[in-house]
């Protein structure tokens, strides 16, 4: 069944780097290195000639000031001709999924035939900035003509101006951090600490199973560190096999020490990683001889007031996407929900139930989620689409859903279909 208009967009393949906790195995890599690696390996895995690609789109939430458009650096890989246009975008944690949606739109419109869409984040390599007074002083000094003019701006600085500034994961409009928002949602939706810990444990257990049986590993391209004696990174390093509810219970809440329930164990960790998905028009795939994993049936984005429940917008995005796909919740055979916090997942599920939908946990995050696997902001969308498409194929499921909550009170949903 074709999409609303235009031609169908096929997901041909997807892959990702290992997702590693920030400051660990991928810490010496820059985001651009991860993005280039994953895109090149996508070509390798699909035996696609780089000359066939028309567009590259990447999502990234905290770009390096030195590489403002990471997608262009990807499309300047020697494996591609130099004339592939590329752009990078941000829709916060849904950036990777948005990159896929944006590339798919261009294919639907007939503007492109083959696109690589992905996302990347290196939280080991976030920009550390000078404070505004220091930055102002540096700028005036650079324009100065005499030694006196050059030194004068610095005399007005105070010691605290010398402290570097790094981006906080907080809402610019409310000042609330992501964790505080999750804490608020847990309270308002009455999500218990134990329910959160159980969801986190489930995430680790299922992710470990998916890793051990090879399903997740198959999506991962090994990362070769710069140093030849360092081990090759082949799997995610955030998945815990040794944890238990008892251990989780002992962790103190981070954001509200007294009455809070959000802990390091039931939140997704800061993570480095990249993902990429190969998209083609259905006809192009046929011409080039590729067997699609799945097709993009629809997608939708919704937003709520960030001052309300910051991560609850999927509750509005999902019905929109289902409506555009002209399918019902009950038609879905698999669901991938991004896990920023266990409290957010459970709040989202509560919201879905509020639509009158029946929840079947056996279909949700069947190989765990971001809590265990990790959440490199820009890369998570590519991971979810890749994992969902592969698992739909393995299980012979006809319809699947991706649901992602994002900073700014946004929610993203995408429906995939097979055949």
């Amino acid at each position: 069944m074709p999409g609303a208009q235009g031609r169908r967009v096929a997901v041909i393949a997807g892959c990702r780097t290992p997702f590693c906790r920030a400051g660990t195995l991928l810490r010496s890599a820059r985001a651009v290195d991860l993005a280039r690696h994953v895109a090149r390996e996508l070509l390798e895995r699909t035996n696609l000639d780089g000359r066939a690609v028309d567009e590259v789109v990447f999502g990234q939430v905290i770009p390096s000031p030195l590489v403002a458009n990471v997608a262009r650096e990807v499309s300047l890989l020697p494996q591609f001709p130099r004339d592939i246009p590329a752009y990078s975008l941000s829709r916060a944690c849904a950036s990777g999924a948005q990159a896929i949606a944006a590339a798919a739109d261009q294919i639907t419109l007939g503007h492109t035939n083959v696109a690589i869409a992905g996302g990347v984040e290196s939280l080991s390599d976030i920009p550390v900035l000078a404070s505004r007074p220091l930055a102002d002083a540096l700028v005036s000094a650079s324009k100065a003509k005499s030694l006196k003019q050059r030194t004068l701006p610095f005399t007005r600085l105070r010691p605290r101006d010398l402290v570097p500034v790094s981006p906080a994961i907080a809402e610019p409009s409310t000042g609330e951090t992501m964790g505080q928002s999750a804490e608020k949602m847990a309270k308002e939706n009455r999500i218990s600490r134990i329910a959160q810990d159980e969801w986190a444990l489930r995430s680790h257990t299922l992710a470990a199973r998916g890793t051990d049986d090879g399903r997740l590993v198959a999506e991962i391209v090994p990362w070769f560190p710069e140093r030849p004696d360092a081990p090759v990174v082949t799997a995610d390093n955030g998945i815990r096999r040794d944890t238990s509810l008892e251990q989780m219970k002992r962790l103190p809440p981070v954001f509200d020490r007294r009455y809070g329930s959000i802990t390091a164990a039931n939140s997704s960790p800061l993570t480095d990683g990249a993902s990429a998905v190969l998209l083609m028009g259905e006809d192009t795939a046929r011409t080039l001889g590729y067997e699609p994993l799945a097709f993009i049936r629809s997608y939708a984005v919704a937003a709520v007031d960030p001052g309300w429940q910051l991560l609850q917008a999927p509750v509005w995005a999902v019905p929109k996407a289902l409506e555009r796909a002209r399918v019902a919740w009950s038609d879905l055979g698999l669901i991938e929900i991004h896990e920023a916090f266990a409290a957010q997942v459970l709040s989202n599920l509560q919201g879905f139930a509020g639509h009158g939908w029946t929840l079947n946990e056996d279909l949700i995050n069947v190989m765990g989620g971001s809590i265990a696997i990790g959440h490199p902001f820009g890369a998570t969308g590519g991971r979810l689409v890749t994992t969902l498409a592969h698992e739909m194929q393995r299980r012979g499921v006809a319809l699947g859903l991706v649901s992602i909550c994002a900073q700014g009170g946004m929610g993203f949903a995408m429906v995939l279909e097979r055949a």
Binding site: R40, E44, L77, P78, Q79, P228
Partner: protein
């Protein structure tokens, strides 16, 4: 025929050199005459205030003198006369009453640079193709058209000697830093800058030239005592590297020194005399022959009516060991292809990728590439423990362990994942290509590519077609080898191919000599003095004793008693000595450096060092086994032409260039003499010295390898 075009605008005469019918400009007698006439006319023309000189070739200035003219020289006075008349032309330009400005884009070598040095102002482009140098000593000659006088006066004695004695070329930026060029400019504005400089000079402006080098430079370059020190050190360095076998660098040194002492005019005279002696000397003749042979080889695909090679955009390499990584790194750096490296497990792939990257890093460290080019080259390297990405490979080179069964299996795996048109090359030093291809599904796509280790540095590649290899596959392998910067020789599919075939008896003989009590260092010293870069025992250590044992074993199995290995190497291998790679061999190693012969080797081999054979006999035995085996292999058609065999021996194992190669050297000694010496050695040391049929036949009929 007119090579020069003249155009006068605003009082500046623009002279453009474009030698018709040639891809590069070279200076022949005709060009010189035309040039002389042109400058005569410009001297007379009152409307001309300055001269701007440019090349009409797209990417080349002047590649040097026309070497064919040197070959035709028959006597020293004739050669002297040739350069004297050239010197007179350049003197005329140097003293030209109107300023002469030269714009240089592309290669500016030998006589081309000497011409530029005679001009009054030099502008070079910052293009990578712009290279300035005096390569004369590489042809056994010296820069004799003022190069030994004008360069040291322009940039100082030390810097000039560095360039002249090594026959080196410098990139434009370096040449500019050294002071050879006055300005370094982007290509599109070269002509404008040259014309502007000509106009300024005509108006009386004079450039200020400062010589870099500080106080030390001043002391060494500008004082008689300092110069004497510089010359003495340079002379010592030359002697240490040439072992008295190559007269040209010493002659060039003398020309520079003589000119510094006695002035330009006397210096020029000395240059011409020395050139006369060198040009008709044996060494230069040999080196010029090699130059022509190498040039001819670059256009030869090694098979009759070779079809066009396939385009190789992507290379697959199977086996990420030392060889495979070297091939991958060199291919990326030289051929700028996309390379996919595959090995059985990821740690090996990681080490292979790191080793391949080291080849690229080395180019960056030597500033041959920018860090942006470096990043792009490094991104061309990737690897996996699966054959992912091999479907797009146009050429796959397997470099797995030397084991027939394994190689057959790997070839099968490669065939299963590559397109039917892909070329599958097998890198082997000893296994017949036909055996490797015997189980293959597409034996016509299989060809041998025998690289030498370390791949990044060794200049030779043997390409080995089997009986079934398609001609297009051969030309593809040859063309790609050339893109990798290698001199490529196509050889027949017989054990050892060419290089190892003639190397094996040489290695064996060195082993026999050690067992007879000859001192290890003495053997090496003799062969180095004879002209090899290293002696045979050092070579064994470098190659790896286990590798040598295996290769010599294969040849023994194929050719029998004649190539029976000496027991020396196996005994060392049994003792766990693999040569330099494990720091234990015939020599001792400490901290990665060779530290003299290992005294325990004698004990291990049960040999009392007794001095062994006489030096003359050692030399005779080692040289004659090479010549005899080369002649025999040539008789078997391993190489198609003596040229190929000689060039391969030069580049493959460092046969002395001034001797021209084993077949050329055999010709020089004469088959009759070789046969009688070999017969004498046969009587004394056994049938392995028996002269081969080819030499016996040549001795009988009085023929030679080269006509």
């Amino acid at each position: 025929m007119t090579a020069l075009a003249l155009e006068i605008t605003d009082g500046v005469a623009v002279v453009t050199l474009d030698v018709p019918g040639a891809s590069v400009n070279t200076i022949s007698r005709a060009v010189r005459d035309e040039c002389a006439a042109c400058f005569e006319r410009l001297a007379q023309d009152r409307s001309v205030r300055a001269v701007a000189f440019l090349s009409g070739k797209r990417d080349g200035f002047i590649a040097g003198a026309n070497i064919e003219e040197f070959v035709a020289l028959t006597s020293a006075p004739e050669a002297e006369q040739l350069v004297t008349s050239a010197q007179q032309l350049l003197e005329r330009i140097a003293r030209f009453p109107k300023p002469v400005v030269v714009g240089i884009h592309g290669a500016c070598l030998g006589g081309g640079l000497e011409f530029a040095l005679a001009c009054h102002y030099r502008v070079v482009t910052d293009h990578p193709k712009t290279q300035l140098g005096l390569p004369e000593v590489q042809l056994g000659l010296l820069p004799a058209v003022g190069g030994c006088q004008r360069l040291p006066r322009l940039i100082g004695v030390r810097a000039a000697l560095d360039i002249i004695l090594a026959g080196r070329s410098e990139r434009a930026a370096k040449a500019w830093r050294l002071g050879i060029a006055d300005e370094l400019v982007p290509v599109p504005i070269l002509r404008d800058v040259v014309l502007a400089a000509a106009g300024r000079l005509a108006g009386g402006w004079r450039p200020e030239r400062r010589r870099p080098g500080g106080v030390l430079g001043l002391l060494l370059d500008r004082t008689p005592l300092g110069c004497r020190v510089v010359f003495e050190l340079a002379r010592r360095r030359v002697r240490a590297t040439t072992h008295g076998n190559y007269p040209a660098p010493l002659a060039a040194l003398e020309a520079v020194e003589y000119g510094q002492r006695h002035g330009v005019a006397s210096g020029l005279k000395r240059e011409a005399e020395l050139f006369g002696q060198l040009a008709v000397g044996d060494v230069s003749r040999k080196l010029v022959q090699i130059f022509f042979a190498t040039t001819a080889l670059k256009k030869d695909y090694g098979i009759p009516t070779a079809p066009a090679p396939l385009e190789v955009r992507r290379l697959g390499v199977v086996g990420a060991g030392f060889m495979g990584a070297g091939i991958a790194g060199t291919a990326v750096v030289q051929a700028q292809v996309d390379v996919r490296l595959k090995d059985a497990d990821l740690p090996r792939v990681a080490r292979g990728l790191a080793a391949a990257r080291a080849v690229v890093n080395e180019r960056l460290a030597r500033r041959r590439i920018t860090r942006y080019e470096h990043a792009r080259l490094v991104a061309s390297l990737s690897g996996s423990d699966h054959y992912t990405g091999f479907g797009r490979a146009d050429l796959v080179i397997e470099a797995v362990f030397e084991d027939l069964g394994l190689k057959q299996q790997v070839v099968g795996e490669i065939e299963a994942v590559t397109s039917p048109s892909a070329v599958v090359a097998t890198n082997t030093s000893s296994i017949p290509i036909a055996s490797i291809a015997s189980r293959a599904g597409r034996p016509d796509r299989i060809v041998g590519m025998h690289f030498f280790s370390p791949v990044a540095r060794m200049p030779l590649l043997e390409v080995i077609p089997s009986e079934t290899t398609a001609p297009e596959v051969v030309s593809t392998a040859v063309a790609f080898g050339r893109r990798m910067g290698k001199t490529v020789v196509v050889v027949r599919d017989r054990p050892g191919f060419w290089v190892n075939r003639i190397l094996a008896p040489y290695m064996n003989e060195a082993g026999y000599l050690v067992l007879e009590g000859a001192a290890i260092e003495e053997i090496d010293h003799l062969m180095v003095a004879w002209g090899f870069p290293v002696g045979p025992i050092t070579l064994l250590d470098e190659v790896g004793l286990d590798v040598a044992e295996k290769a010599c074993g294969v040849l023994y199995a194929a050719f029998g008693e004649r190539l029976a290995p000496s027991p020396a190497v196996p005994r060392l291998v049994n003792d766990g000595r693999f040569g330099r790679k494990n720091q234990r061999g015939f020599y001792r190693y400490a901290g990665g450096k060779k530290r003299g012969a290992d005294p325990t080797v004698g004990e291990l081999l049960g040999v009392q060092p007794n001095g062994g054979a006489h030096a003359a006999t050692v030399l005779q035995r080692l040289v004659l086994v090479i010549l005899n085996e080369a002649a025999r292999a040539f008789g078997e058609g391993i190489v198609r032409q003596p040229r190929d065999g000689d060039i391969a021996a030069l580049y493959g194992f460092g046969f002395p260039a001034f001797r021209g190669g084993p077949l050329r050297h055999a010709d020089d000694l004469g088959a009759a003499r070789l046969v009688s010496e070999l017969e004498r050695l046969t009587e004394r040391h056994g049938p392995r010295f028996a002269p081969c049929d080819v030499l016996v036949e040549q001795a009988r009929s009085g023929t030679k390898f080269y006509n």
